[in-house]
């Protein structure tokens, strides 16, 4: 399955990028050629939402089983969720500049995703505050559960409040306005980004699990040389007899 994913990515990604330049420019945009950033901007928040939900599930599983493996999975999911939140913001900022003329438009969706980023930055701040792995896992899992409510509200409720007016069109996909080549490239890249996300998430979680197992079996992975303060420092005098020589 993993091999297949790698082949699909290796062949599919260049083809999809090539295809995205073959479709005609979108109508009704200030810079139609730059409208192609939508192909990348669209899957990022969806991946972020999926990974935050997965992180929540893994956190819940950790609290039920107290198995460190679930915390490691939750950490990996939150790390990639954070990456996709930042990619959403970065691609959004670029899109904002080329289509609306300003790097930061104060658009409610831009602001809500920025607020979401602060919620999950706090998750990593919290993790770094606990040196003990069990306490870290337990409290980070508790925070992940508590943070899901503001995440849901900020992502799904806030941008749709009646008093909130956004530059983001909310009905393009629901009403089938995305057609032809544009729709095809959007679906292609959506699937490919999803496969890529699943693959890199698995790699990260697996590497952390291996590191955790090694540390459990052999102690710290770091060399004790630099930290070993009890090692004696022996300085040999120039005229002193070497070991084995009798005086």
């Amino acid at each position: 399955m993993e091999k297949l994913s790698r082949w699909v990515l290796m062949l599919g990604m260049p083809l999809a990028i090539w295809h995205s330049y073959l479709v005609g420019d979108a109508a009704g945009f200030m810079n139609p050629e730059f409208a192609r950033i939508f192909f990348w901007h669209f899957p990022f928040p969806i991946m972020a939402t999926g990974l935050v939900s997965a992180g929540l599930w893994f956190s819940w599983k950790y609290l039920k089983t107290r198995d460190q493996a679930w915390d490691i999975r939750s950490q990996s999911a939150h790390e990639y969720a954070m990456l996709f939140i930042l990619l959403t913001l970065a691609s959004g900022v670029f899109f904002s500049k080329v289509q609306w003329g300003a790097w930061w438009q104060n658009d409610p969706r831009q602001v809500s995703f920025l607020l979401v980023s602060t919620v999950y930055i706090a998750y990593f701040v919290l993790r770094s505050a606990f040196p003990d792995p069990d306490k870290r896992a337990q409290n980070a899992a508790g925070y992940a559960l508590a943070a899901f409510l503001p995440f849901l509200f900020l992502t799904f409720v806030f941008p749709r409040l009646p008093q909130v007016e956004s530059f983001h069109p909310s009905e393009t996909i629901m009403k089938g306005r995305l057609k032809g080549g544009y729709a095809l490239v959007t679906v292609e890249l959506m699937i490919l980004v999803w496969i890529l996300t699943a693959w890199v998430y698995k790699l990260r979680a697996r590497s952390l699990l291996i590191a955790h197992k090694l540390e459990n079996n052999y102690g710290s992975l770091e060399s004790p040389r630099r930290s070993d303060v009890n090692a004696p420092v022996v300085r040999r005098l120039p005229n002193a007899p070497s070991d084995g020589e009798s005086s």
């Binding site: 609290l63 607020l115 602060t118 919620v119 930055i121 706090a122 701040v125 919290l126 505050a129 606990f130 069990d134 306490k135 337990q138 409290n139 899992a141 508790g142 925070y143 559960l145 508590a146 943070a147 409510l149 503001p150 509200f153 900020l154 409720v157 806030f158 409040l161 009646p162 008093q163």
Partner: protein, 222 residues
């Protein structure tokens, strides 16, 4: 009183007795609110205040005063080494509800005082007192229960005081937004369906008070 409520009120009573010795929590919250309103008054005394900006200031003051002072109830247990005592003798739900109840009381007092000062000292006109009151009270409950949970999560860390503030503010962000919508509408800002902000705030208060004990019971044992 049903027997299941007794441990909750015992925790609440303990918090109240501890607080009554020094009144440090209530005076800290009150002072932050008072000084903030005085500063806002000093900044805005020559200008007419837009209801939306005024509502933003109101919720910023309430949120930050709560984020600084409310997590104390859990933090001091770890500092005094009494957290393990609770683990031996009480259920997590009773501890959380008792402490949350105390924080809610403290926050309600602070909100009422802050609102009175805010309306007297700042150039704002109250158009809808019922929406303003309901929004403020529901917001106080939601802020208190969220800050209590943030305090419980951050309590075992060594930098617990700074950490609890750092993690409670992001959790309160959406609440500030809902609060601003309701308060701005009550102060006369013509927001589309602004009254729904008050309903949203009440729903959020219910959600946070329900979620708090569930999460706390899961991180209770360490």
């Amino acid at each position: 009183m049903p027997s299941s409520y007794k441990p909750i009120f015992a925790v609440f009573r303990k918090e109240w007795l501890t607080e009554s010795r020094t009144l440090s929590g209530i005076t800290t919250t009150g002072l932050i609110c008072f000084v903030s309103v005085v500063i806002l008054n000093a900044i805005t005394f020559t200008t007419k205040l837009n209801p939306l900006v005024a509502a933003g200031m109101y919720w910023m003051v309430l949120t930050f005063s709560a984020a600084i002072s409310l997590p104390r109830t859990f933090l001091q247990e770890e500092e005094q080494g009494t957290a393990d005592f609770w683990r031996l003798f009480a259920t997590p739900e009773a501890v959380f509800w008792g402490k949350a109840l105390f924080n809610i009381t403290q926050m309600l007092i602070a909100t009422v005082l802050m609102s009175v000062m805010f309306l007297i000292m700042l150039p704002v006109k109250l158009q809808n007192p019922i929406a303003f009151t309901l929004n403020g009270l529901a917001g106080a409950v939601a802020i208190a229960s969220t800050s209590t949970l943030a305090g419980a999560i951050a309590a075992p860390a060594s930098n617990r005081a700074a950490l609890s503030t750092a993690i409670s503010v992001p959790l309160l962000i959406f609440l500030i937004n809902l609060g601003i919508t309701g308060t701005a509408t009550a102060l006369g800002e013509g927001l589309k369906s602004g009254e729904n902000g008050v309903i949203g705030m009440i729903a959020y208060a219910i959600a946070t008070t329900t979620l708090g004990p569930v999460v706390y019971s899961k991180i209770w044992k360490s």
